[in-house]
Each structure stands twice: as structure tokens, then as C-alpha cells.
Amino acid sequence: MPTIAEKQAILIEEFTFFDEWMDKYAHIIEMGKELPVLDDAHKNDDLLVQGCQSKVWLKAEKEGAHVRFHADADAIIAKGIVAMLIDVFDDQPAEEVAAADLGFLEEIGLKDHLSPTRANGLMSMIKQMKFYALAFSSVN
């Protein structure tokens, strides 16, 4: 299992193929489409990430010392972004998720590219994932 740092390096490598943002978005959209859908039963307001323009549901489970993430969104770009975060954070040790630095978002240019409202949405997703991870690691 690659580490969080290794996962990020793979994503950065993938995005180096694309010069234009349309192509980067196409890739993000594909990742969104590949993310398994969350059962409608789980799409309740408790799981909604606050601060996103579109609806993003995020579910986390503890599996030993690791944390498993599942998510869905009504807009596909938001879903693609959360899919990237899941790619990096899913099935990683909870303590490492809580402490991780997500440099790849700057490396692939996403952080600078997003409008302030959407950048806030991204930050909210990360915050929520880390919040779960922190809660799980303190249980250990």
C-alpha cells in the first residue's frame, strides 16, 4: 500500500500530462465517475460537508488503525475532487491522515485555480476528513 506521500506523487505525475485546464478537468471528472456511488440511504444531511456550493456527502469508518472514506456529490467536478482526496487518504493510518500535508493540491495547481468559494469547499472537505481521522486516532 503506497503511503500518503507516494499517493500524492502519483497524482502529481498524472497531472503533468495536461497543460490545459480543460484536460485537467476531464481527468478530475473521470476520477469522479470512477468513485463508487454512495447508497442513497447514506445521503442524509448529517454527512453533508458544510461550506461546499454543491452537495458533498462524506462518510468515514474506522478499520483497525486505518480510516476508510466513502463520498458522493451531486456535481461531478466536486465528486472528482473528493475522489482525489479519497485516493490519497483512504485506508491510511488515521494518525497520518490527521497530520498529512496535502502539497499535491498546490503542485497540480488546483488550489490557485479554484475561485475563493470553491477553494473554501475544498478546504471544508479536507477539514472534515482530518476531523474524522483525528477522532478515530484518539480512540486508539
Binding site: 485546464w21 480543460m22 478537468y25 471528472i29 456550493q53 454543491s54 451531486d74 467536478i77
Partner: protein, 405 residues
């Protein structure tokens, strides 16, 4: 008719730029319109030559600023055919205009009375009336709309009754583009002695309005939607109405005398213009009005109607394309969804291709609720938009849809 759209575009410097390496196609005009050189130059001239505070001081610059500002008041008066310049109040925007009236009516309205608005309003023409009703115990009623986004007036006589204190509604819907049957609603309101307010946020840039012909009590305009500066609105009110309601902001400029015990208010319009006004905005708005009139509002409306018809036809060939708001009488707004895509995603991918559209609820949550949708993407056209831009928009939308499905 000789409508030279290229000559008009030359007057709007902001349009001549690239976004993401592609020519900007600005289709978010219902949110705010771009500014012609005449407006930009008027503001520059004001700060370069004439800037001073108005209505005080005898020095030359103050006199020039005051004259320039009051000349615009006269222009607005003529533009909407008000009886006298004192009936033209400058506000911070339409939200401020409507709040001024809704607050002022608090002193007059009784708990058994009601306020009637419509299911087609912007939040700015909903919330002030909800607040008024909460404060006074009056009730709020809604004229419903049908599936096409047209007001359903079949129950108008029951909704607007002898207990109706105010009927407030927009001339043209920002979310759907519907042009409402203003006169029918005003006539019913008048028949029962109710006051009336028409929100002209979207009609200002597209339609000629004569407030005396309508015989409406209050009418509002937004400068920034009419190619003028932001932060400025107009409240027109009949003299007897404006004199009947108290101001909701106190301060300088709006008083006649001030002692530590009691102040008396100035006469209209100054009674409602507390504080230093948005002088530069007013002067810029005057230039915008002159510019609109130099092109001709009927010519602009005809051009926009042609763009709307062209775009509606062109876009409808996209599979799964659905227009929200298909009223028979519509201004140049296309609110839409495309099956299998989310409006936010469309907005992002259009922006990547240089196309600016609005996405979301357009400050009209109740309308979105009625259509059971979370929001739409919206393209809205102005005097400077072209057929070529609609072609670019369509091609960009098709590309976005292909990526998203």
C-alpha cells in the same frame, strides 16, 4: 433598422480580453452589466476635476458636484416620466429601495391587513416584506406561478382584497426572464386602494417604463444592471406616498433642524438620503442613462429579443437541453439545465472556455423549489452580445456536456 453591435462593443473595453486563452463571452448580464467608456470617463472626470461633497459649502467644486448630481436626478425623472425630481430618491441599490418602503409602511400597516407579492420574486422583494409582516402582524400572500414561469392571475381578485395594504412584484423575473402583466395587477391593486411597488431591476436595461402611465406608487431601478456603477439604486415614489412614510435611516443630509431633544426631517427627496450620497455612482449612472438613450432602449430591446430567439432555437438542439421558464413574454434570459449534468459543472467548464454564465439559485430559492431543482445555469444577453457569441456559447456547452456525461 441599423443596429451596429460592433460599434457598441467598441465602447465596452472590458469585453476585449481573453479568458483561459479564449475570447471572453460575457453572458451574465442579469447579474450585472458591463460599463461603457462614457461611464468610466464620467467617473474619472469627476475625480479629476469636480470632486467635493454635495449640498454643503459654497465653494466652486461643491457647487459643481451638486449640480452634476442633481442633473442626474432630473435625467432619471425624465427617463421614467416622474412628475417631479423630488420623487426620485437615490439609494444604495434596489434592496435598499425596497427596505425603505417596507420599513416606512411599518408605521401605517395594521395587523388585519396583508401584503401581496408573487412566487416569482428575488429575495430582495421577499425578505423585507416578511420582516414587515413579522413586525406588524400583517400577513403575506403570494400570487402563484404556473409551470411555464408565468404568474397565475386566476385568483388575483381573492388575493388582492380590501385588506391589502401593498402589492409588490417585479416587472421582469431575473431568474426566468418572465415579463409580468404589470398593468393588470396594478389595476386590481388600485381598485381596492392598495399601494403598489414594481421592482424594475431587470426592466431598467431592457424596457421603457412610464411610471405615470402605470400609475404605480413606487418603482425601483438598479444602476449596475443598467451599465452604470454598483452601489446605487433608485427609488421612485409618488410625492404623497413618500411624504406619508418615515425614513428608516437617520443622519446628515436628511434633516431640517437638529437639537439634542428632537430633529425634524428634510423634505423629499433628502429625507430618504441620509449621509453623503454615492456621488460618483450617481454621476456615472447619469452617463449610463445617456448612453442607453443614445443607442435607444427600443433598439436594444429588439436586438436582445432577436438574440433570445436565436439562442433558444440553437440551444434546443442540444440533447437533454431544458429551459426553465418558458413564458410567452420573456426578456433576454435563458435559465437552463442539461440532462445528466449539474449546473455548477456546466458553469466551471464554460468558464474554462471563456463563457461567463451564472449558476445557482439566482437569489430566488422559492422559484427553484417550485420547479423542484437545486438551481440552474443562466445565460442573459445585453446590448453588446452577438450571434457569434451565442454560437461560441453553444459549442462550448456541447463540449462541456460531452465531458460531463
Amino acid at each position: 433598422m441599423n443596429y451596429d453591435v460592433q460599434a457598441i462593443r467598441e465602447q465596452f473595453p472590458i469585453l476585449h480580453q481573453q479568458i483561459q486563452g479564449r475570447p471572453l463571452v460575457y453572458l451574465d448580464n442579469a447579474a450585472t452589466a458591463q460599463k461603457p467608456l462614457a461611464v468610466i470617463e464620467a467617473i474619472t472626470h469627476f475625480y479629476t476635476k469636480d470632486n467635493a461633497n454635495v449640498h454643503r459649502g459654497v465653494h466652486t467644486l461643491s457647487q459643481r458636484s451638486t449640480d452634476a448630481m442633481e442633473a442626474v436626478r432630473a435625467d432619471v425623472c425624465a427617463h421614467i416620466n416622474a412628475r417631479e425630481v423630488a420623487e426620485i430618491i437615490f439609494t444604495r441599490g434596489i434592496t435598499d429601495s425596497i427596505n425603505t418602503v417596507a420599513f416606512g409602511m411599518g408605521a401605517l400597516i395594521q395587523p388585519h391587513q396583508n401584503v401581496v407579492i408573487t412566487a416569482l420574486e428575488h429575495h430582495s422583494n421577499i425578505v423585507p416584506w416578511q420582516m414587515l409582516c413579522e413586525r406588524t402582524g400583517a400577513s403575506l400572500r403570494y400570487i402563484p406561478m404556473n409551470d411555464k414561469g408565468e404568474l397565475d392571475l386566476s385568483n388575483l381578485a381573492a388575493l388582492v382584497d380590501e385588506n391589502t395594504a401593498m402589492v409588490a412584484f417585479n416587472h421582469i423575473s431575473n431568474a426566468l426572464g418572465t415579463i409580468n402583466p404589470v398593468q393588470i395587477i396594478l389595476d386590481r391593486a388600485k381598485a381596492v386602494g392598495a399601494w403598489t411597488l414594481v421592482d424594475g431591476a431587470q426592466s431598467g436595461p431592457h424596457a421603457k417604463v412610464d411610471v405615470q402611465d402605470w400609475d404605480v406608487d413606487f418603482f425601483t431601478l438598479s444602476s449596475h444592471k443598467m451599465y452604470g456603477p454598483t452601489g446605487l439604486g433608485v427609488l421612485y415614489g409618488k410625492r404623497e406616498r413618500l411624504e406619508a412614510i418615515p425614513p428608516y435611516q437617520g443622519g446628515g443630509e436628511m434633516i431640517a433642524t437638529v437639537t439634542l431633544e428632537k430633529s425634524t426631517y428634510a423634505t423629499i427627496p433628502h429625507k430618504f438620503e441620509a449621509g453623503t450620497p454615492h456621488i460618483e455612482g450617481i454621476i456615472g449612472f447619469g452617463a449610463a442613462l445617456n448612453y442607453i438613450n443614445s443607442v435607444g432602449i427600443e433598439a436594444i430591446a429588439a436586438h436582445e429579443a432577436a438574440l433570445l430567439a436565436y439562442a433558444t432555437k440553437a440551444l434546443s438542439t442540444i440533447e437533454g437541453f431544458r429551459i426553465i421558464g418558458t413564458a410567452e413574454h420573456k426578456a433576454s434570459v435563458i435559465s437552463f439545465l442539461v440532462e445528466g449534468t449539474h449546473p455548477y459543472d456546466l458553469g466551471v467548464l464554460l468558464d474554462q472556455q471563456g463563457i461567463a454564465v451564472r449558476t445557482g439559485q439566482h437569489c430566488t430559492q422559492p422559484i427553484m423549489d417550485q420547479f423542484c431543482i437545486a438551481g440552474t445555469a443562466r445565460a442573459s444577453f445585453a446590448m453588446y452580445n452577438t450571434y457569434e457569441e451565442i454560437d461560441l456559447f453553444k459549442a462550448a456547452l456541447e463540449r462541456a456536456v460531452t465531458m460531463l456525461r
